[in-house]
């Protein structure tokens, strides 16, 4: 059975929901959301803490509340959602193959596809931490699901490796539930999560945070009994003699997220080696015409508000594509990450369209200056007090700057 759709949206989390709503509001109403879970909302459903929506709604919402704002609109507009449905393959011709227990094989021929699959968590094996393989070593997001959705305690004595946001939030959450948080250990000399989470989740509750520390060994045959932590030097090499054992029954890993792009790769989508997400233009279109990407599939975000914003951009791109109004690629301008900048999304902008550049620095910088260069010429400068890799920044590329660029390749530097 093949059915047609103007836009197929892969994933019903925050990106997919915002994209669907925006497509509809822009007048493209034949939209279908394909979601593997039995309800919409994605990872927000397990994020029961508050702090969502400050930018988008000027309110402080919980994850489920934030998702519900969009779910209500999806329902009001009558946008179709295929729940309990997993996409297994997307072809370059935009045939989307999925399976569903009741409908069996589902095939959708879409005019445009928006990839909103989110990301997965890095594991201890990605870090190549040796040792035993006991129960009790979990990624923070998995524990968030176990605790918040299913009501189980992963353990009582907890070490957190990495200062990613989910790890910090779960440290506080498990402490509320009576667990002892033995410490949060971060390899880098700075937090990889949001500064506000360091204050609100750790400092306010006297949970110790150790920078320049990592876990190099895991102990316990059946259940975790402890970890070996060490201090590292400025080149992140282990400082000999700094090894110490910390007894614990649970190790929570919050050591980074990886965009989920396995189905995108099969469709022929080219990925950026730094972000792990697709290379996109200002409309968030990938190298495969009519295939767009937004949210954590594209690059990992720290605020859901920006996920929604980016999904709206991708949705407007998909709408233009469906209507045959896509921009002339002759106006394309390459954008690259210069000194001090880890990555920029999008990697290509268009002279004919204002756009938002999302970027992260490669280190913590204080009292410096951002410089946007067209060729050798600095066309924009902005002073900053502090930039950190844990917090994504944005620059608006308006018509005036695009005119100044005059078609030359752009590069952003942080000095």
């Amino acid at each position: 059975m093949i059915r047609n759709a103007d836009v197929a949206i892969i994933g019903g989390g925050p990106a997919g929901l915002a994209a669907a709503v925006e497509c509809y509001e822009q007048g493209v109403k034949d939209v279908v959301i394909i979601e593997r879970d039995v309800k919409l909302g994605g990872i927000l459903q397990q994020c029961i803490h508050n702090g969502f929506g400050l930018h988008m709604f000027k309110e402080e919402l919980t994850g489920p509340e934030y998702a519900q704002r969009y779910i209500d609109k999806v329902e009001r507009y009558g946008i179709e959602s295929l729940l309990d449905t997993m996409v297994l393959e997307i072809t370059p011709e935009k045939l989307v193959y999925a399976i569903n227990p009741r409908k069996g094989l589902v095939c959708i021929r879409a005019k445009a596809v928006i990839l909103c699959m989110g990301c997965r968590e890095r594991t201890r094996h990605n870090l190549k931490i040796p040792g035993t393989r006991p129960a009790g070593v979990y990624t923070a997001g998995m524990v968030q699901r176990l605790t918040n959705l299913e009501g189980f305690m992963p353990g009582k004595e907890i070490v957190v490796l990495g200062s990613g946001d989910i790890g910090l939030i779960m440290a506080r959450r498990l402490m509320f539930e009576g667990a002892t948080i033995k410490g949060v250990y971060e390899l880098m000399p700075y937090s990889t999560g949001l500064q506000r989470n360091i204050h609100q989740c750790l400092e306010d509750f006297d949970i110790p945070l150790w920078f320049n520390h990592t876990v190099i060994n895991i102990h316990g045959r059946d259940r975790l009994t402890g970890v070996t932590v060490v201090e590292v030097d400025e080149n992140r090499n282990v400082i000999k003699g700094s090894e110490r054992r910390v007894d614990c029954d649970t190790l929570l890993l919050s050591v980074g997220l990886i965009p989920e792009n396995e189905v995108a790769t099969v469709a022929g989508v080219q990925l950026d080696a730094v972000t792990g997400g697709p290379v996109v233009d200002a409309a968030r279109q990938t190298n495969v015409p009519g295939v767009f990407a937004a949210g954590n599939t594209l690059h990992v975000h720290d605020l859901v508000d920006y996920v929604s914003e980016e999904a709206e951009i991708a949705a407007r791109g998909a709408v233009q594509y469906v209507r045959g109004e896509a921009l002339d690629t002759a106006g394309d301008i390459q954008v690259s990450a210069g000194k001090g900048v880890r990555y920029i999304v999008p990697q290509v902008v268009n002279a004919g369209q204002e756009s938002e550049l999302y970027f992260r620095p490669d280190d913590v910088y204080r009292d410096g200056e951002l410089k946007l260069c067209a060729g050798d010429e600095v066309i924009f400068k902005k002073k900053f007090i502090r930039l950190t890799p844990g917090e994504m920044e944005r620059i608006r590329l308006n018509t005036r700057l695009l005119d100044k660029a005059g078609g030359r390749a752009l590069s952003l530097r942080c000095v």
Partner: protein, 492 residues
């Protein structure tokens, strides 16, 4: 009274169990761990060796050659993952090329067909990710299998043909009675058997001594490995061996049948018998040696590391397989190190021969023996038509539980009901591959727990990764504990 009690549910024990199930015999197998294939058989290279390597005249040489020839049929009958992808022993200098010549002669002496030398140019054309420093290679017709899946398949087929398999059942005492039969006490039961076959792997020496049979000197040797994301499938098409040395066959680069690339093992003597403890220095050794053959091995995309222990002979370098001289009716198998997996089908026939010819066990062929085991229907291997068909028959095949390995609810439920022992996350993983992918269970753990709980009635607090003591969660969160408490009060 059992005819035969087998101690140990690894590849050797399960092969013997299946072999004996061809006959009208009462056979039981006891395994100390919560599932079959949890020791040496679950953490190894999975290689079905050609047989050029063992010293001519040894049991290793004989059973390797015979076992290899039996593998294609075995994999077809039992439906476990296996490919005969072939392998190269690569040389780096004149010395290595001399070793390769010797191995070619040894292959002939061992009765191994299909080995030939390959020039440097041809080798690099077939395996472009090898270092250009290679000087040539020996090709041999080996294969690679998912050894844990093979053990599970053997056990299932044996059970199908009447063998009883009891897991979580550690042997604590063995006594020979005046009528020469055996009384074997385990943590769960007492067994009476005319014959006992000791296949306890790393614990075979302990079991032999416990029974009062021979003192066997075996020493464990560890091997650490890295396993890569399937996206690097095709990095090599054949198994790559360096030239063998005194500590074994060296660090291999292995294209597993399911598409993962594996590098390893290290090879270090140890006192450990029961451990999965990977060590940084062993893993560094693996990396440094594997990159000598394949310098462009990906630096990222390792999805797991693991360690396996194998039991080598401390005194002589061969398998130890014989009926005890001290204890009539007791058969010892020990030191089943590499090529033990390859040899296992041949060893099983040999042990059946010992029981029949030396120990005069009456072995009447069972006309009802069915050599075929239906594997779990792996959704990821199916065509779109097959997928549509199976979902129509059973809608639970339309729900993905493990996204990385595309494992459906239907497969997990099937695996839960096939498990001989207690169902664990591990028993589901080794039967379905749920949790073996790039996210290592981050996505599927909660979902598999839901299904185990639903299908077996176990509470989530009872569910473990690999048996007693490896529980995944430690109780409810506060408000739920309080709810539970309130209910208890009401009951009072």
């Amino acid at each position: 009274m059992l005819d035969v009690l087998i101690i140990g549910g690894g590849v050797t024990g399960c092969s013997i169990a299946r072999e004996l199930s061809r006959y009208k015999l009462d056979v039981a197998l006891v395994e100390a761990k919560c599932d079959v294939g949890k020791g040496t058989s679950s953490a190894n290279s999975g290689i079905v060796h050609a047989g050029y390597d063992p010293k001519p005249g040894t049991m290793k040489a004989r059973f390797n050659m015979l076992g290899n020839l039996m593998f294609d049929q075995l994999a077809e009958d039992l439906q476990f993952a296996y490919t005969r992808c072939g392998s190269y022993v690569v040389g780096f200098d004149d010395n290595d090329m001399k070793t390769i010549d010797k191995l070619l002669v040894q292959a002939t002496l061992n009765g191994v067909d299909g080995c030939y030398k390959v020039s440097r140019e041809e080798l690099l054309e077939r395996e472009p990710n090898l270092t250009p420093e290679v000087t040539g290679a020996l090709y041999h017709p080996s294969g690679v299998c998912a050894s844990y899946e093979m053990v599970i398949a053997l056990a299932e087929n044996a059970m199908q043909n009447g063998v009883k398999i009891h897991c979580s059942n550690e042997v604590t005492a063995i006594k020979q009675l005046p009528d020469n039969s055996f009384e074997v006490t385990t943590t769960q039961d007492v067994y009476h058997a005319k014959h006992v076959v000791n296949c306890a792997g790393l614990f075979a020496d302990i079991i032999s001594e416990m029974a009062g049979a021979e003192v066997i000197k075996q020493k464990p040797r560890r091997g650490d490995y890295f396993i890569y994301d399937k996206k690097h499938a095709g990095f090599v098409n054949t198994i790559i061996f360096p030239c063998p040395g005194p500590m074994g066959k060296g660090v291999l680069v292995i294209p597993m049948p399911e598409g993962n690339l594996v590098i390893g093992p290290s090879s270090t003597d140890t006192d450990l018998r029961d451990s999965n403890y990977t060590l940084q220095e062993e893993l560094d050794f693996v990396w440094n040696n594997a990159t000598r053959c394949c310098p462009d091995l990906p630096r990222t995309d390792v999805i797991a590391s693991f360690m396996g222990l194998r039991s080598e002979g401390a005194e002589y370098h061969d398998f130890y397989i014989k009926a005890s001289d001290k204890l009539k009716g007791f058969v010892n198998l020990s030191c089943i190190a590499s090529p033990g997996l390859t040899s296992s089908p041949a060893i099983a026939k040999y042990v059946a021969g010992i029981l029949r010819d030396e120990l005069h066990l009456n072995m009447q062929p069972d006309p009802d023996f069915n050599p075929r085991r239906e594997g779990i229907s792996h959704f990821s291997h199916m065509s779109w038509e097959e997928r549509a068909g199976i979902i129509e028959k059973d809608p639970s095949y339309g729900r993905i539980v493990c996204r990385c390995e595309t494992v459906t609810e239907g497969e997990v439920v099937d695996a839960i009901h096939r498990t001989p022992g207690t169902v664990t996350l591990g028993s589901v993983k080794y039967r379905t591959r749920a949790g073996m992918g790039r996210c290592q269970g981050g996505f599927c753990t909660c979902r598999v727990m839901d299904l185990i709980s639903r299908e077996t009635g176990m509470s989530k607090e009872e569910i473990t990764t690999r048996g007693e003591g490896s529980n995944i969660v430690m109780g409810r969160i506060k408000e739920l504990e309080m709810e539970g408490g309130a209910e208890d009060d009401k009951e009072c």
